[in-house]
Amino acid sequence: MSAYTGTTELLRLAWRRDRVLVPLGILAIAGMAVSSAKATLALYPTAESMGGAISEIFASPAAVALYGPIGNPTSPDSLAVVKMTMMGAVFLSLFGYAVVRRHTRSEEEAGRLELLGSGVVGRRAPLAAAVVLATGAVLITCLLTALGYIGLGMQSAGSVAFASGWAASALAFVGITAVAAQLSSTSRSCAGLAGGAIGAAFLLRSIGDSQATLSWLSWISPLGWSTQSAAYGANRSWVALLGVAVLVAGVIGSFALLDRRDLGAGLLAGRRGSAHAPASLSSPVGLAWRLGRPGFLGWLAGFVVGGLVVGGLAKSATDLIKDPGIADMLRKMGGGEGLLEDVYLTTEIGFISVIAAAFGIVVALRLRSEEVAGHTEQVLAGATTRSRVLASHTVIGLLGSAVLMLVLGGVIGVVDAAAGGSAGVGRLLASAAAHVPAVWVCIALAVCAYAWLPRIAAGVAWGALAVFLTVGEFGGLLGLPGWLIDLAPFTHSPRMPVEPFSLPPVVGLLAVAAALLAAAYAGFRRRDIG
């Protein structure tokens, strides 16, 4: 029996389990890419018509830090994909990561691999099957997107370069996740490692893209490769080879690690601990904090680093605007140098609030994984109530996300002030706080989904976040109806410090979050557990 015996059977099994999820992911990402490009092309069909749009994009350093540089400033095709390039690369990387983790570490944790491993299945077969499925999903998404672009009449070589850039980023993360799944001993720490890698890659390229002297950082970040392919410009389709190289290295490395460890164990092994529980571990929320603390500290570190980067770039990013005309115009509008900086910071804080919502959703969905693992049953068999059990992870998610946002605002403010910026710590703290209610709506929605639709809670919560994000980014462009755009909580966050604080939307968002939590409780108290 070879180490790969049974790979095709496992692949078929994995496909059977994911036959809805994977095609849905492929269609969502490719569909989003093609429809947003179509809408942009309808707005700016020729090079002449797009002059304003391009300078608009380049006028905002926040946009470059978020979306990366445009492949070719004079090509309408390039403009059509500029927003989708980085966002899609992140989505596609998350997609590849999720597929790999789902069929390796999560399966092993649930003990199902053991069941398979005792059958006629080679040692490397499960990992091989997961990597093949994820690679296939990524490549099909890239292929469909390229075909869709060519179908829209966009330049073929550029469309191929675009797809190559995406493939480079996502394939690299397939390989990286394969390694992370071997290093970690739980599905959760695997998520921490791989998610941290995606976050770090985003930060690296965000610095590299917005700082001319540090542009090499974009080349060491797999996410940077999706913009470095310079679609419809230099058309560096060969960047795909970088992704393939990381994938191959990752797979070889993960097989080597796999051969050195026991089933169920990771290389970052667990140690012994205390024979007695600390006093804090005596209630459901105490348990939730204990379980969530390591993850929270990881996110906190990420937000501090993010704050350092955003704050550090604030002053110099505004220097990117060399055009004296624009600077003069801004000054005339009364904002002076500071206004430009505010625009940048407002955009960044708004964007990072979506990431804080992702943290909250991860924590809220722990309610579900705890129930599936049978832990909720054990807790509810104690003298506690359903409301306390439901509140446990919810409170950690709500408070944790608020702390993350405030820390972010504080760090940005302090760093910016140290660099001679003018934004002010107090204003940035207020801005960060103003974004918290929208974050809470997303978390409350996840809790509500868990209470009423436990089986599909993760899909509902992440799907909603993805929709909120894309509706906010592309809603106007696609001509979506106003009510649909208004569904996204983030569009209601006061855009501080550019705009002043406004109470009604904040009160409205808090009311929606409270209503969702009340609905969650109403559902949770009457349903079966387990």
Partner: protein, 295 residues
């Protein structure tokens, strides 16, 4: 109040599966009650309704005089539960899990906890996945036994325990009984049931098929009988004989089974044919259960 658990006509369906179909169960205070039935017959479902984890679709259930669905918090201070498949939090040690579960229940007796750890030979400093199946089971058992509760709900608590630990478990349950506390014990291990239980309930397809003490149940089943006769009996001779079943006659040998309370009259009747050799075998527990499970 003399019944710790009083369940009647309990119904529960999951989609199209009927898990409980009018189940009755009475457990008196202070007894160790065996809860038996084939796989999928509804034992765990019943216990989870008694814990307020599942909501019954019909029938009534009372635990320690309270409604298990509405009086959760006060009721759970007085009971402890050991699930059949104990899963541990990967990053918590066994000792932490024991303390946590005990505190949730309103505190646990430290001296008792340490004594139980000793008796079960359990290392409380290991973390989640480092425990073997039996050791995970021990963690839940220690947590349940260390708290001073009136009722223990045990769902196959000894699955995975080695014989030595099984004996420790039996000693512990005997002590619980001596304290006048009540135990509902679901189990597939018949020797354990025989050794521990005052009364048993056997369920099948979500319905109670037998309930009573083991002697009572034995009495309900048949004794197998094999006799060699001087004058071979014909089937016609025996057809009028009440209480003799499954008769097979091969030459001078007759085998069959007899209702336990009819042994006397049947032997009298066979005596008329001249008994040369006779073996009578009381039903083993296993036969008793197999018969209930298959009926």
């Amino acid at each position: 109040m003399s019944d710790a658990i009083l369940v009647s006509g309990l119904r529960k369906t999951f989609g199209t599966t009927t898990a409980l179909d009018g189940l009755d169960l009475t457990v008196s205070t202070g007894e160790v009650h065996g809860f038996l039935g084939p796989n999928g017959s509804g034992k765990s479902t019943t216990i989870r309704i008694l814990l307020g984890l599942l909501r019954a679709d019909g029938g009534t259930a009372q635990v320690l005089g309270a409604d298990p669905w509405t009086d959760v918090e006060t009721l759970h201070r007085r009971l402890a539960y050991v699930p059949g498949d104990v899963t541990m939090w990967p990053n918590l040690t066994g000792g932490e899990v024991i303390d946590f579960l005990g505190r949730l229940r309103g505190g646990l007796d430290q001296a008792k906890r340490d004594a139980l750890l000793e008796r079960f030979d359990l290392d409380p400093t290991k973390k989640g996945r480092a425990y073997s199946k039996g050791n995970r089971q021990k963690v839940a058992l220690v947590a349940a036994l260390a708290s001073d509760v009136d009722l223990l709900l045990l769902d196959e608590p000894t699955a995975g325990l080695d014989p030595l630990m099984e004996r420790v478990f039996r000693d512990c349950i005997d002590e619980v009984r001596a304290d006048g506390r009540t135990v509902l014990l679901s189990s597939h291990i018949l020797s354990e049931v025989e050794a521990l239980c005052d009364r048993v309930s056997i369920i099948k397809d979500g319905r109670t098929v037998e309930s009573g003490s083991l002697t009572q149940l034995r009495h309900l089943t048949r004794t197998s009988l094999s006799a060699v006769l001087d004058r071979p009996a014909t089937a016609a001779d025996l057809s009028a004989l009440h209480g003799l079943h499954d008769v097979v006659i091969e030459g001078d040998r007759l085998t069959g089974s007899v209702d336990t309370e009819r042994i006397g009259p049947v032997l009298d009747a066979l005596g008329a044919h001249g008994i040369r050799a006779l073996t009578c075998q009381a039903p083993t527990l296993e036969e008793l259960f197999l018969r209930s499970y298959q009926s």
